[in-house]
């Protein structure tokens, strides 16, 4: 456990020094911010999905709750940013409690489907209401916070990093406390857990609320960073599934799996999206710019990036059900 605390501290120190090496490179900074965000979201999801084994397929709802609450308050009032983020946490926790009241009565497939249904209701509601900007979304302009330059990347990089480190610390604290044992017991066998005096309903809800609160902060930071939100950007089922995939590919139920998954998937998605993969092949002299392979890649790789994503998912589930971290660990059980 001490080793893991050292790990988190080292990670925080290393990551915090990155901007000083990076210099003025907004593009890379943007990718890193996305990575940190996905890592934080996946780690937050991991508390309820990985530790308690409750695979919520609706985490976008909490991310979106944070993003929407913060955006609405920022545009409609002069409430300070931290308070807006706090309100976002509150909103997400409320939705989480409401969701928990419904879905935690169910198990397995029913749980997964119900969590999707709740998230879809949240999405459609945001889509239909006026206050959320409905289908038009919300554009936030002229936000200030202290003397921070919100046009630069640093505040968001550090905010996301802070959130990620906090999430990791909370994960570690939870994991090694009574709560952690209870969540793991629930994951392994709900009936056995109940027979040991664990209040399933209470602990599952606690895990979900912590997870939702952290996800909502990610949403709030996202909203202020991008300055525009709509339902397809912050409340979509696609986002929920991406969060789960990130965790699964990295290693579900582990501390560093979500971080590893985010680093890998975000860079992969970006490399495919912007055809950096093709460029790399050209630059390294493997193929020439005029070759048919490059023109094929140029024309199709962007098209194909979701396809590649799908292939990786399938390969991972079939061959690495314990994620990449699972590869590095000694086989623990048969």
């Amino acid at each position: 456990m001490t080793k893991q605390w050292t790990g988190i501290a080292t990670f925080a120190a290393l990551a915090a020094s990155v901007p000083f090496f990076l210099g003025d490179n907004p593009y890379i900074a943007d990718i890193l911010i996305t990575m940190l965000m996905m890592a934080a979201l996946a780690s937050a999801w991991n508390i309820v999905g990985g530790y308690a084994g409750q695979f919520s397929f609706g985490h976008a709802a909490y991310f979106g709750a944070g993003a929407y609450t913060t955006s609405i308050l920022l545009t409609a009032s002069s409430i300070a940013l931290p308070l807006c983020i706090g309100a976002g946490i509150l909103a997400a926790s409320l939705i989480a409690l409401l969701t928990g009241a419904i879905v935690f009565r169910l198990r397995g497939h029913y749980f997964a489907l119900a969590s999707i249904a709740v998230a879809e209701i949240v999405r459609l509601t945001a889509h239909n209401l006026e206050i959320t900007g409905g289908a038009q979304g919300l554009l936030i302009t002229d936000i200030t916070f202290g003397n921070l330059d919100l046009n630069s990347k640093e505040p968001f990089y550090f905010a996301m990093l802070f959130l990620l480190v906090t999430t990791l610390a909370i994960s570690l604290l939870v994991r090694h406390s009574r709560a952690g044992y209870f969540l793991l017991a629930i994951r392994e066998d709900q009936d056995a857990a109940a027979s040991l005096g664990i209040n399933l309903y209470l602990w599952k809800n606690m895990a979900l609320v912590i997870s939702a609160a952290l996800a909502s902060v990610a949403g709030s930071i996202y909203a202020v960073y991008i300055r525009f939100i709509d339902t397809s950007a912050v409340l979509s089922l696609r986002l929920s599934i991406e969060i789960i995939l990130t965790t699964i590919i990295g290693g579900v139920g582990t501390l560093w799996g979500p971080v590893l998954g985010a680093a890998l998937l975000v860079s992969l998605a970006e490399a495919l999206r912007s055809n950096l993969a093709g460029e790399l092949l050209v630059n390294s002299g493997i193929i020439t710019e005029a070759s048919p392979i490059e023109s094929f890649l140029k024309n199709n790789l962007a098209h194909a990036h979701v396809l590649v994503y799908g292939i990786i998912t399938v390969l991972c589930i079939l061959n690495l059900p314990k994620g990449i971290l699972g590869l590095f660990r000694r086989k623990q059980r048969t």
Partner: protein
């Protein structure tokens, strides 16, 4: 396996940080939705942009256009823009297609001082925030309803019903239509917003039919437009006119289905029968090359890329390019283009939108009079 993953991670980290190579001529960027839910319209923009670059090449004008996909996600659009301006060092960017993405990128353009030319996104606020580096070629959403209702005003309709997709474009357009309609004294008798992609709209249409409107104002994308009109015919919804704002009511596919599309009036940014220079020729060459009719998105992208490329070639620098765009004027397949500030807009091309009606399976421009050869037929008869 372990080593593979380590290697893969290392490779990814390296090449995302590698600088782009070469000192090519002048570089511009093009951000578009190649994947994602907007991909089908994105493809039209891609085709238009490709044609523009090839046309310039044929005239020995070499401009390098770097394409980026945003997948319809504002986060990706921002990453794409930042990559283009900081890593690829483009001096101007055309795009993005969707309003959501354009909104986000537009809000950063002044920060990086690299001009952004929005080819086809309709949301008004994109050019209403006073951004100095944001230009828009197409007419914003309010013009769609404005021009449609103006074209029909002489016939003095009394009531109007709205049926529209619950998306950004649908909601924005209907909001302005309601304002325009109430100044015209039109009474609203039904307002039906629907989620896209439903297989069955009959219940919605039956409800509208019961309200007996003179005008039915529709905003839909491609496929929904066909479903709606098909089912409207079955249900027997026969107002005096169907007004289709943009997108789904201006496609070739829609025109071919004469039994349901005949007489539908629609607003568009562009047609190939308009008397703007090169419009007809563009249509012919587009059809020959891509095997389908050009949509106005293709024309918008073509003209935006052409304007950006020509201006960038002369300017060779972002700041000069901005002044060139602000000061310049062009006349091409989109008619006369000038980026001006008026009515709350900044750097907005006051593009005249066209009203067309499907007559005998062809889109005929019927309004404004100076661009049209045919007369609008009203009331509608099946």
């Amino acid at each position: 396996m372990k080593h593979l993953f380590l290697a893969l991670t290392a490779a990814l980290t390296i090449f995302t940080t590698l600088p782009a190579q070469g000192a090519a001529p002048v570089k511009i960027g093009f951000i578009n939705s190649i994947t994602g839910k907007e991909a089908q319209i994105g493809e039209n923009l891609t085709n238009g942009a490709t044609m523009a670059i090839d046309d310039l090449k044929a005239r020995n004008i070499d401009v390098e256009m770097i394409r980026e996909d945003d997948g319809g996600d504002p986060k990706n659009a921002l990453a794409a823009y930042e990559k283009l301006v900081t890593r690829d060092r483009v001096i101007g960017v055309v795009g993005p297609y969707t309003s959501a993405c354009a909104n986000v990128v537009a809000s950063r353009a002044d920060q990086y001082q690299v001009p952004l030319l929005v080819p086809a996104a309709a949301k008004e606020e994109i050019t209403m925030k006073g951004y100095r580096n944001v230009f828009r070629l197409n007419a914003p959403a309010d013009v769609y309803s404005n021009v449609l209702l103006k074209s029909i005003a002489p016939f003095r309709p009394g009531t109007i019903a709205y049926i529209y997709a619950a998306n950004d474009f649908g909601v924005s357009t209907v909001k302005t239509a309601q304002v325009n309609a109430s100044t015209m004294g039109l009474k609203e008798v039904a307002n039906e917003k629907y989620q896209q992609g439903q297989p069955d709209y009959r219940a919605t249409l039956a409800k509208v039919k019961a309200a007996q409107p003179d005008l039915v104002f529709l905003v839909s994308y491609d496929a929904d437009a066909i479903l709606l009109m098909r089912q409207a015919k079955e249900i027997g919804l026969t107002p005096k006119a169907f007004l289709g704002a943009g997108a789904g009511y201006t496609t070739a596919q829609f025109a071919q289905l004469q039994d349901i599309s005949s007489m539908v009036i629609s607003a568009t940014q562009w047609t190939d029968d308009v008397n703007w220079p090169g419009a007809a020729d563009f249509g012919v060459r587009y059809r020959a090359r891509f095997g389908k009719d050009p949509s106005y998105h293709a024309a918008c992208a073509y003209e935006a890329v052409r304007i950006m490329a020509l201006s960038a070639l002369k300017a060779r620098d972002s700041k000069v390019l901005r002044s060139a765009l602000t000061a310049g004027s062009w006349n091409g397949i989109m008619g006369p283009v000038r980026f001006a500030s008026y009515g709350g807009y900044t750097n907005q091309n006051n593009h005249p939108m066209l009203v067309q009606q499907l007559q005998a399976g062809r889109y005929e421009t019927v309004y404004p009079a100076q661009f049209s050869k045919k007369k609008l037929i009203y009331p509608y008869r099946r």
